[in-house]
C-alpha cells in the first residue's frame, strides 16, 4: 500500500514526461524512445548498461525502474534528472544544438535516484532490501554534430519557414488597406520632422499612432488567420515533423556521482555505498550502422564492492578501475543490438580477483512509445541476469503527462 501511495505521489508531483520500465530503462517521447543515461542509476549499480550513449536533454525527466518482470508489483527504483541550464531564461533554438559552443550547458544534468531492493540476484527478498540514494552529474566535453540527413531536414525546415515569411510580406503588400496604412505612416513621418507640435498636431499624431496600430494588426492578423490553410504552412509542418536529431562523430562525456546506503532504512544511519567518476567516449554513428563506445571508470567502495557483494573485503575501502567497450548496431530505427564488455581491476587489494562483465542487449520499437527490450549477460559478481519485457508505456504516460520529450535519439 505504501508503495502504491509513493508511486501515486511521484506521478502527481512530477507531472512531466516520464517513462516506465520493466527490468530495463526506457525513455518515452513522442516519436522516439531511448534508454536514459542517468548517472544516478549508474552509481547505484542498477542501470541496464554501464556504457551509455550521449544524449540530448529536455529540462526534466523522470524514470522508473521495475525489478520484476511484469506489473504485478509497483516499481522500486526511481531516478529523475534535471538540466538546470535548460530551465533558465536563456533558450536554445534548434540551430544551436548543431555545434559544440553550448554543448556543456545543453548537456549538463543533475540526477538523483532511489532504490529499495536487495543485493544483486536477491533483489526481491524483503529481509535483504535496503534503501539506497544516489546523486550524479553528467555533461558533454565533446559532442558530435548533426548527421547530413539531420542537417538536410533542418535546412528544408528553414526554407519552408522562409517561404512563410515571404508569404506574410506579400500578403501585406497586396492587402487593400495597405495604401491607407502607408499614407498614415507618411503623415506620421512628416509630423516627426517637426521640432515642436501644436496641440492639434499632437492630437493628430496620437490618432495616427492608434490608426497605424489598428491597421497593421488587422492586416497581419488577416494573414495569420489564413495561414494554417495554406500549402506553404503544410510544407513547414511536414518539414518539422520529418525532423529528427541524429548525431555522428566522436564524443566524450564526463559523469560522476555518489550513493548512500541506509542499511536499516533509518535516516540517521547511512553510509557511503559507492562514489566514482567516469569518462565515456567513442564514435556515434547516428541512428544506423555501428557505434563504438568506451569507458574508463573509477569507483570507490567503502563498504563493499560490486564484484563481491558477499563481503569478502567489506569495510576495506576498496577502489576499482573499470575499462571497457560497447558496440551498438542500429537497424533501420526499429532494432538496436548492443554488446558491452568491461574489465574490473582492484586497486590496492589482493584478496579480490579482477572481474568482468558482458551483456548483450536488444531493443525493438514495437510502435510509437512502445519498446521491447531483452538483455542477457554476465555481471561482475558472476550472476546471470536476463530480462525482456514489453513496455506498457501508455498506461504510465497518461499518469505523467508527456508534453515534453526527454531526449532525441542520437
Amino acid at each position: 500500500m505504501k508503495k502504491n501511495i509513493l508511486f501515486f505521489l511521484l506521478t502527481v508531483i512530477f507531472s512531466a514526461k516520464g517513462f516506465a520500465q520493466v527490468t530495463v530503462d526506457s525513455t518515452i517521447k513522442l516519436d522516439l524512445l531511448q534508454s536514459p543515461a542517468s548517472p544516478a542509476f549508474n552509481i547505484l549499480g542498477i542501470a541496464l548498461n554501464d556504457i551509455e550513449r550521449p544524449t540530448d536533454l529536455s529540462s526534466f525527466a523522470l524514470s522508473i525502474q521495475q525489478a520484476t518482470n511484469n506489473f504485478t508489483t509497483m516499481p522500486n527504483s526511481y531516478a529523475f534528472q534535471v538540466a538546470p541550464f535548460l530551465l533558465t531564461k536563456r533558450k536554445y533554438t534548434l540551430n544551436e544544438f548543431d555545434n559544440g559552443a553550448n554543448a556543456f550547458k545543453q548537456s549538463f544534468l543533475i540526477s538523483a535516484g532511489f532504490t529499495h531492493i536487495g543485493p544483486k540476484g536477491k533483489e526481491d527478498i524483503d529481509s535483504l532490501k535496503t534503501t539506497k540514494v544516489g546523486f550524479g552529474i553528467k555533461f558533454s566535453i565533446v559532442r558530435p554534430g548533426w548527421t547530413n540527413s539531420t542537417r538536410l531536414a533542418y535546412n528544408n525546415l528553414i526554407k519552408a519557414q522562409q517561404q512563410l515569411l515571404d508569404d506574410a510580406r506579400i500578403y501585406e503588400q497586396n492587402h487593400p488597406k495597405k495604401a491607407l496604412l502607408e499614407k498614415k505612416k507618411l503623415r506620421l513621418k512628416i509630423l516627426e520632422d517637426k521640432d515642436t507640435l501644436t496641440a492639434n498636431e499632437t492630437a493628430e499624431r496620437q490618432q495616427l499612432l492608434e490608426d497605424i496600430a489598428t491597421l497593421d494588426g488587422e492586416i497581419f492578423e488577416g494573414f495569420t488567420d489564413e495561414l494554417p490553410s495554406t500549402a506553404n504552412y503544410d510544407n513547414a509542418k511536414k518539414a518539422a515533423l520529418a525532423f529528427k536529431t541524429e548525431r555522428r562523430g566522436f564524443f566524450l562525456d564526463f559523469s560522476g556521482g555518489a550513493a548512500l546506503d541506509f542499511p536499516d532504512n533509518r535516516f540517521s544511519n547511512s553510509k557511503v555505498y559507492r562514489a566514482g567518476m567516469w569518462f565515456t567516449g567513442g564514435h556515434e554513428n547516428g541512428n544506423s550502422g555501428f557505434s563504438f563506445l568506451g569507458i574508463a571508470r573509477y569507483l570507490y567502495n567503502p563498504e563493499t564492492i560490486f564484484a563481491d557483494p558477499g563481503g569478502l573485503v567489506k569495510g576495506s575501502n576498496v577502489s576499482t578501475v573499470d575499462m571497457g567497450g560497447r558496440i551498438l548496431l542500429d537497424g533501420k530505427e526499429k532494432f538496436l543490438f548492443s554488446a558491452e564488455a568491461l574489465y574490473r581491476s582492484i586497486l590496492g587489494n589482493s584478496l579480490v580477483k579482477p572481474s568482468w562483465r558482458l551483456v548483450l542487449n536488444a531493443e525493438y520499437d514495437i510502435s510509437m512509445n512502445r519498446k521491447l527490450t531483452f538483455a542477457f549477460g554476465r555481471d561482475f559478481d558472476g550472476t546471470i541476469s536476463k530480462g525482456g519485457n514489453l513496455i506498457a508505456a501508455i498506461n504510465l504516460i497518461a499518469g505523467f503527462g508527456t508534453d515534453r520529450k526527454i531526449s532525441p535519439k542520437n
Binding site: K91, T93, A213, F220, T224, K237, A240, F243
Partner: protein
C-alpha cells in the same frame, strides 16, 4: 463609442494576437540602437527577418538575433522597423512558442514579450513587431 468587449473576448484576443505596434523614444545622439530577438523555447526552430523603412536589414537569421546594430539614434528618427519571426514547433518539444524583442540605446530599454501555444505538433507561429522611432 465602441462596444465594450467581454473579459473572455479580450483574453482570447490577447492570447492569439501576434502582431504588435509601438513607439521607441530616442534622442538626437550618435549612440547606437541595439536590437535583440529571442524567439521560441528550447529546441524550436526560428527564422527572423527585419525591415527598416521597407529596406531589408536582416535576412533569414536562424535562432536568436543578438545585439544587432540598427544605427545611431539620430539616423533612426522617424523610421519604421518591422521584424518578422516565424517559430516552428518541433515534435516532442514544448508546444508553447514565444517571441521576446528588446531595444537598447535609446532613452530607455524596451522589451516586448508574447507567447502562443500551437494546437498541433509541427505548427508554426509568425510574430511581427513594428516600431516607430520618435523624439516626441
Amino acid at each position: 463609442m465602441p462596444k465594450a468587449k467581454s473579459i473572455k473576448t479580450q483574453f482570447k484576443e490577447s492570447s492569439t494576437k501576434t502582431a504588435h505596434f509601438d513607439t521607441y523614444k530616442i534622442d538626437k545622439s550618435d549612440n547606437k540602437i541595439l536590437m535583440n530577438v529571442f524567439p521560441g523555447d528550447t529546441g524550436q526552430a526560428a527564422l527572423t527577418e527585419a525591415y527598416l523603412d521597407n529596406v531589408k536589414i536582416i535576412e533569414a537569421a536562424e535562432g536568436a538575433v543578438d545585439s544587432f546594430e540598427l544605427g545611431a539614434n539620430k539616423k533612426l528618427k522617424g523610421k519604421f522597423l518591422e521584424v518578422y519571426t516565424v517559430v516552428t514547433d518541433i515534435p516532442g518539444d514544448p508546444d508553447l512558442t514565444s517571441f521576446r524583442f528588446q531595444l537598447n540605446g535609446g532613452l530607455n530599454p524596451y522589451e516586448y514579450f508574447v507567447e502562443k501555444t500551437v494546437q498541433n505538433q509541427g505548427d508554426s507561429v509568425i510574430y511581427k513587431i513594428t516600431i516607430f522611432f520618435t523624439t516626441h
